[in-house]
Amino acid sequence: MSRPPRQHRAEEGPDRLYTVTRGRSRAATDAFDVVTLIVAEQAPVPGMQSEHAQILRLCESPTAVVEVAAELRLPISVVKILLGDLLEAGQITARHPRFVPQAALPDLDTLKQVLHGLERL
């Protein structure tokens, strides 16, 4: 496997986010919610963009997108782009949240689970 072309180092300053995402400002897919749990499917490999490698290390156990963003100190939208790269390459999997559809109520099973969990705190 060859080193990807135009490998950038993350720099400080206003261009950093642009650099990290290689100029992309929007995730290609809507694949991630803030609480989608990310699981690494492989260890980082040499030559990988450092943010990608960081994510793979972080996600050795399931980690929510917001937690990845907080750990990397990057905005959520930037993290989603990075996750999109990894997902596309099969290096992570995503465990999706069970959404409550807009203007609908959670099902009773869900509510029971959540209630029991809270009562046990």
């Binding site: 917001v66 907080a70 465990r95 949240p97 099902d107 969990g117």
Partner: protein, 221 residues
């Protein structure tokens, strides 16, 4: 309020508590309220992790046209919000988000909190009007909520007076709480889930799983 995490609320690497490897189901609940209402405090008092701060970039397109503040002058701005987490079981985990209730942020919350179970409106009794906008939006969106009056000393009004000032619908629970207290904050969340349960029971027609098109998905292994 600042978005650069300079308050040290971003956990140091290595200091984090990982989720269990079996975790595969995440839920979210939103805590909204005016500046200083106690959102961060509440998230922190029930969270199993130190509340973390993260940020989202809001582009100009996302800023309400009604907004004439500095936000509208820039091409994009960053909005910070806090979150915490509660492990509910081997498989499920609940995330709590603390979000400022001001109008100019709401576009962002609309996106971030889509799919949430419900919301807590945390109220500083000295500044009731700060929560009007959040309540309006939650009602508009049909996201169920409870209102919690945070304890900032002896309240000057009764809960009924607060209910009236906030123009709450009769079914919306209004509780007292102390966001600094874990048990009290936990009771607010339990109050929300009980409220959601009542609404769900009332909305459920008959117990006929076949009539529910989502039943198969929900019950799939």
């Amino acid at each position: 309020m600042d978005s650069n995490g300079s308050d040290g609320s971003v956990a140091a690497a290595g200091g984090r508590t990982a989720l269990r490897s079996t975790a595969d189901r995440a839920w979210k609940i939103v805590v909204v309220g005016g500046f200083g209402a106690g959102k961060t405090t509440m998230v922190g008092s029930v969270s199993e992790i130190r509340p973390l701060t993260t940020e989202e970039v809001m582009t100009r397109a996302g800023v309400g046209i009604d907004d004439r503040s500095a936000v509208a002058q820039k091409r994009s701005t960053t909005v910070a919000f806090d979150f915490g987490r509660i492990t509910l079981s081997e498989e499920s985990v609940l995330y709590l988000f603390g979000a400022p209730g001001q109008q100019r942020f709401w576009f962002l919350w609309d996106r971030l909190f889509r799919g949430a179970l419900g919301a807590v409106v945390l109220v500083d009794p000295r500044r009731l009007a700060d929560s009007w906008y959040a309540i309006d939006r939650l009602e508009q969106h049909g996201l169920p909520f409870v209102v919690a009056r945070n304890n900032f000393g002896d309240p000057a009004h009764t809960l009924d007076q607060v209910r009236e000032a906030l123009d709450l619908a009769p079914g919306v629970p209004l509780l007292d709480c102390d966001a600094r207290d874990r048990e009290s904050s936990k009771q607010v969340l339990i109050g929300l889930v009980r409220h959601l349960t009542e609404l769900a029971v009332a909305a459920a027609p008959a117990v006929d799983p076949a009539a529910d098109p989502t039943a198969d998905l929900e019950n799939a292994p």
